[in-house]
Each structure stands twice: as structure tokens, then as C-alpha cells.
Symmetry: C2
Subunit: 250 residues, 2 copies
């Protein structure tokens, strides 16, 4: 449906880092959660990229996106094993050094006895120079934020804790409001009047999402979205009225 | 874990087109299915992008990816409503004209009575010049393939039918084989010996995926991947032996 109102919006992109998602072994659950949460606070998620555990690919994605969007979130690749290369990739993307950060090390020690804080676990305290930490109460191992890039864990429960920890400090936009109407019609029958309504409300995004109902009949959800409650109500009423008439010309 | 063996691999990227995924309203189910299916036939999914229903964004993603990978798949945006702009965006990406295709129109008529084949439904028969059709038995409305770009529906059942229809005509690689071992250990305890094994088997991708077991204890799945069954077995045995020793130095 296009960008209905771009002027002052706060935008974001997400980089999901993980061979396991690209191989299909792990079914990603973070995209949906982050999308919903950001939308709810008025940060528009505009693009998601899933990339492999390959440093050049991670660097390229972060550098392409951090210049285009207000924020870039990443998930995955910040654990203690050799395949956890996100922190180093982010440091490289920003051209800054990376080393064990005393603040992060102290956080790890809240969870891990000092005798167990081996070199591998200390990898989780490697933070690019100039970054602030993003705490999490689940595992203590922190994510971090450098400029507009926010680096989070891939394990959903830990990622969610980090997202909640960082959200209060982020700029928010006016949340996109939405209303969903059940078409009780085939998309192809209502497409013409729906297009006419979409043209009449250029600042409203109107999406049509087909599905089959319990009887196997084609149906659709119509989603009307705007940041302005009055405009949203007017567009929703126009769609509802169109649906009620049921005299759609072929 | 990086690219273990890139020489002759067949690669793919996926572009998921849909505001509804970026807003969190729809939780994508296509990425996981496509990832698993392509991996199974030896096509390596290397990148996924989720983009909005914005023509410029779709064109940019397709043009960036179709030059880098053997195949680019897209899902979403090929229905009859005004927000279905994928076919036009793909035509633009290739710089070719687009119009109602008689073959696609004939397919629609197998499903839709001619009196109902209005302008909106005919949108589903708009196919870029030079493309071949990708049939589907579920809705009849076809996807299409132009050069190395394969355009599919967003509704999972229809997308899956299209993927099965097109797979036989695609080049396949040697499938990546994988074995998963339960670590029964904390990632941080085994990270050092695991790294050593990863270095010893540079052509094998070894990933570590942490989770909490039923008792809430940290554990991990170790996934060993290679296209060569003998190399895979050797690496898996090395990992299994390391896990059995349980004398990992801190």
C-alpha cells in the first residue's frame, strides 16, 4: 500500500543473523515480535534482512541500513561460541576497536562464577568502543547499542528482555492505528471500489489479505491504517459502506 | 559459521513483499518453509529481505539480489487488489513491458467464469514480457518466472504449490547434510574445544544453538553441516568425542 505518511516517522530495520534461519532448521520468531512491538510504539519497521553468519554479509547489511533508517536492530550471534561473530562485525561496520568491556564483564560475573569466566564466555563481554550496554535480566550477558544500531540476542526470551530494556530510550513516533474489516466477499469482486477508496484517502494505507473461510470460500481481511484517528475512521467507514452495499460492478 | 564450501553451490535469495509482515499483523510462515525446502534440494538460501509494498523498495531488492544469487524468489503482492504491485515492480526491475498475458488469462478462466473476469481479476494475469508461468492448482492464478527471478503468491498454501511447480526446472546443488548433537553442556564450557574442531574442519560448518532444557538448565544443540558425508561423519565424531570427554579446560 505504500508509504502513506513519511514526513516525521521514526523508522527501523532489522537484521536477523543466523545460518539456522536460512537453512530452515530454526523457524524465526523474532521478526513477528519485533514488528508488532515497534509498530505499537510508533516505530515503523521498514525492512528486515536475514543474513548468514558471514562477517562481510553482516557488515554490508548493517552499513546499508543504518544510514537509511532511524534505528537498526540485530538479533543473533552474540553468544560464546566461534560462530558468534556479530559484535566483531558491528565493530568493523563502524570502524571502531572491540575488546572486553569492564561493564559487560561485571554483568557476566553476576551470573557466572569468576572461575568459570573463561575466554569463550568473555567473548560475550566484547563490546565495540563507544557502545552502551543493553541489559537483560534473563541471562545477564548484555546486548549493546552503538549510535543507531541495537544489537540483541537471538534466543527469543533474551531478545525480548533486551528490546524492553532499550525501548524507553528510543525516539518514538505517532503509532500507526489500524482497523480490520472482514470483507465477506471475494477480493476480485471488491477490488475496484476498494481501489477507488484508496485513491480517495491517499494518506491511508489500505491492505487486502485473502484467506479461505471454514467452508473453503475465498474471503479477505481489509486492513485500514493511518496515524490520524479521524482520517482512519472516515476511511474505515467508507470501506464498511462499500462492503455493505454489495452491488460492486464487475 | 561462514561459508564452508562455496565453489559450485547453487544459491538463492528470498524477497518477502508485505506491509502486513512488517507491521506484525501477519506472522510470516513462508521463510521457514522455503528455507527448508531449498536446503533439501541443495539450493542454499543465502539472504532474505522483507520489504514493504512500495514499488521502489521491491525494485531495489530484486535488482540487488538477482545479480548475486542463482535464483531470487519473491512471495506476496500478486493478487487482484490495488496493493498488489509485485508484477509491475518486477517488470520495472527488468525494464520490460507488462500486460495481460493470454496464457495467464486462460488459466484464470479455468477457475473464474468469464462474466466475473473483471479488470481487477485480470490484474492477476498481468505478466512481464518474456516470463514463463508458474502454475498452481490451488487458485489457478499463476506466478511467473523471468530469468532467475521466481514470483510466487503470499498465501502459504498457494506459494507452496508454486514452489513445487517450479522446483523441477531449477538447477540443484549437492544438498547440505547436517547432523545435530545434543551438547548436554553449557555453550561457554565447550566453546574452546568446539572452536578447535571448527578450525580442524574448515570445510564443515559447525553451529551452536543454546536453549534451556525442561529443568531450566542451559544446554545447546550443535549442528554440523557439510555436503560431503565422509567429512561430515568425521567432524560429527570429533564433536561427539569432545562432548563425551567432559574434561573441557576452562
Amino acid at each position: 500500500m505504500g508509504e502513506a505518511d513519511g514526513a516525521q516517522s521514526v523508522t527501523a530495520a532489522l537484521v536477523v543473523i543466523g545460518d539456522e534461519v536460512l537453512s530452515g532448521r530454526t523457524k524465526d520468531k523474532n521478526i513477528g515480535h519485533i514488528a508488532e512491538r515497534l509498530t505499537g510504539v510508533g516505530i515503523d519497521l521498514r525492512e528486515v534482512r536475514v543474513v548468514a553468519d558471514v562477517e562481510d554479509d553482516i557488515v554490508a547489511a548493517i552499513n546499508a541500513l543504518r544510514r537509511r533508517f532511524t534505528y537498526v536492530f540485530t538479533t543473533g550471534g552474540i553468544g560464546p561460541t566461534h560462530d558468534d561473530i556479530t559484535a566483531d562485525a558491528v565493530a568493523k561496520a563502524f570502524g571502531v576497536p572491540i575488546d572486553v568491556d569492564p561493564r559487560a564483564r561485571a554483568l557476566l560475573l553476576e551470573y557466572i562464577p569468576e572461575k568459570d569466566l573463561n575466554e569463550a564466555r568473555l567473548r560475550m563481554a566484547r563490546i565495540p568502543a563507544g557502545a552502551s550496554l543493553v541489559v537483560n535480566e534473563v541471562s545477564k550477558a548484555p546486548g549493546f547499542r552503538i549510535e543507531n544500531v541495537i544489537v540483541m540476542a537471538g534466543v527469543p526470551r533474551i531478545m525480548q528482555a533486551m528490546l524492553e530494556a532499550v525501548l524507553p530510550e528510543l525516539e518514538k513516533g505517532v503509532p500507526m492505528l489500524s482497523e480490520t474489516l472482514l470483507a465477506d466477499a471475494k477480493e476480485g469482486d471488491i477490488a475496484a471500489p476498494l481501489k477507488e477508496i484508496a485513491a480517495r484517502f491517499p494518506d491511508v494505507a489500505i491492505g487486502s489479505y485473502p484467506f479461505r473461510d471454514e467452508k473453503g470460500e475465498p474471503n479477505a481481511h481489509l486492513v485500514v491504517r493511518s496515524r490520524d484517528p479521524q482520517v482512519l475512521a472516515a476511511a474505515r467507514d467508507a470501506v464498511a459502506q462499500m462492503l455493505a452495499q454489495r452491488d460492486w460492478a464487475g
